[in-house]
Symmetry: C2
């Protein structure tokens, strides 16, 4: 029997927010707020995947207002986030039942393709985890005291989301004590002793963090409409 | 006295060319072929920097034709490249006199800002080398046999160009025997025993390698015109 599938879309702790700036996930690119593109990607993958959107509670009103303005009808549940990404994911996972699959995804990665989501669910069902990763396009150096040294870039992968897990595994892993080295869900699962399975991500699947990233995302999303 | 400044713009070996496709450096983005944007960036930095453009000899005709069509007047010298990037740079360096500074730059990085070029010349004059590098935006994992492990991303840098050097240093370094681990000029200089100085690059300074990169570069270049 196919396991139930959940999407946990994580859209920002409230910790480092600059009050005067609207967070990137609410900004419009290619005609829609970033987050709506992200949720649409999950819906394109499957209309039965259950979407949990983790937002700072302070932004619930803004989000509902945006949903009305853009006539956004896609079913999803809201979950109040915590101070950090770790806390937000942990809270979101409380809404996910055991014996299911959960795809954890950054809200500010609106360019995720439905095929990437599909691959992550399929592989996590088999391996317990499935983490999107890409090869390095550029050379890499490691800082070693006051020097740097060239490394063989073929041995490294940059990590994206989706990061999909069997829910029991990742919920248990998130019982670990939070620390700053746990930068993503894969590192949390690894801390709990699990071997992480990577799969091929996509260079298009960018994380919007800067103003330039918005320009880039807009251009890529527009080019898909053509 | 200020040292003479050279720009070595490297635009593709001919090794892996697919015959039917025009290389990315000749494609038009934001109204101009990629390479012309790149050369303009050097000219914006300084009208006295001497530009050497390394191209496959087979493409000289195409380039001259493009220069006519786009009425591209910017002074530059052409140098026939070799089979690999290593060979192309080595040939280009033969045109650069001793006791000067040479800024080696990928032709397909048209978004390099003149301030980045300026910083690289300034720092290379002091330290012997100046290599643009950026911090990782994403988590990184290392492949270790059949497993991967999370690493502390703050210890790594992704390497871009410009990579600027005192000419004697880099010309001598390029006497080394070519091998596949020498993926950039910094690694060649390092092989010759030099300590590499990094400076802060820019996320905008992308290397155009895919069709999506063309869309991205076009959007970023257009946004600069506004």
């Amino acid at each position: 029997m196919k396991m139930e599938e959940y999407a946990l879309v994580v859209a920002g702790g409230k910790g480092t927010r600059i009050k005067s700036h609207l967070p990137k996930q609410f900004l419009e690119v290619a005609g829609l707020p970033v987050l709506m593109h992200t949720l649409h990607a999950f819906n394109r993958y499957s209309s039965t995947v259950q979407i949990i959107l983790v937002l700072p509670e302070d932004d619930f009103g803004l989000w509902k207002d945006l949903c009305q303005r853009y006539d956004f009808q896609l079913p999803h549940r809201l979950q109040a986030g915590g101070e950090t990404r770790f806390q937000s994911v942990k809270k979101g996972l409380e809404q996910v039942p055991d014996n299911s699959l959960v795809c954890i995804h950054d809200g500010v990665r609106p360019l995720v393709h439905e095929n990437l989501i599909a691959a992550s669910f399929r592989l996590a069902a088999i391996h317990g985890s499935a983490v999107a990763a890409v090869r390095l396009k550029e050379s890499i150096r490691m800082i070693d005291q006051d020097k740097t040294q060239a490394l063989d870039r073929s041995r490294f992968r940059l990590i994206q989301t989706p990061q999909t897990f069997q829910s029991d595994l990742i919920k248990k892993a998130y019982q670990v004590k939070e620390d700053s080295s746990l930068t993503d869900d894969a590192s949390v699962a690894e801390r709990a002793g699990h071997t992480i399975s990577l799969f091929e991500g996509s260079y298009e699947n960018i994380k919007i963090t800067t103003a330039e990233d918005l320009v880039i995302a807009d251009a890529l999303l527009q080019s898909h409409k053509k």
